[in-house]
Symmetry: C2
């Protein structure tokens, strides 16, 4: 029995042994890489359907509608797949705060630590106290 | 016995069960996300020491000095780590061809497939015949 046409694009993704792929969120306006999270099939399908980033939380073992607690929703403009079909790239607008906050630490991007002189140094400012982001 | 100071930053990375972390290569000049590959501890250490991207090839089970066959070396300007310490972000200059080619298919970026109308569509041009990249 052939798969439904609408499902084929999901079948073409090379899910790992846990049924996941890494998904990179890149800010459409700035080009900044905001974060990397994981998606299962359902998360990617919902991301495409809803036009907002839905990940799979490996720690909680369930779908994670980005922004569900923080309000920091990611609107998805474009979904790309890499040459090996095992990594997803989202072009997003990070909603909910100005300037945009993607990281649970209250920073713009999750990649705020820079290797310098053999140490990881936090570089980017905390834009909002995490205690006031999560109730 | 304490670890050598120069090793501490490698200990702070949260390697997965296979001893790997995903590493995103982002073009410094354009902000384009070029690719995602994997690193083990040795690959990340060599990347920092050499100032060029060294990954761990999961298919070949060994270090992969990006560009070793193609000449498409990535010069690394900055190494970042995310808030969970389990994803690396490299800011690179993609060497070896103008315009820059990161993908083994001869394209600028590995993320050349875009989801459109329920299908993955190849969007970006092949800049060089892969047959002439790899002998």
């Amino acid at each position: 029995m052939p798969a439904e046409p609408s499902q084929n694009w999901l079948d073409q993704v090379r899910w790992d042994a846990q049924g996941l792929v890494p998904a990179i969120a890149q800010e459409a306006g700035s080009g900044d890489v905001l974060m990397l999270a994981w998606m299962n099939r359902e998360a990617l399908e919902k991301t495409a359907t809803l036009g907002r980033a839905v990940y799979f939380s490996r720690s909680r073992g369930k779908l994670w509608f980005k922004g569900e607690e923080s309000g920091h929703v990611q609107t998805v403009h474009e979904i790309r797949l890499d040459c090996d079909a095992d990594v997803v790239l989202l072009r997003v607008t990070q909603q909910g705060h100005e300037p945009a906050i993607a990281c649970h630490t209250g920073r713009h991007s999750c990649f705020f630590s820079v290797l310098q002189d053999g140490q990881w140094r936090a570089r980017d400012p905390v834009l909002k106290d995490p205690a006031s982001i999560y109730n």
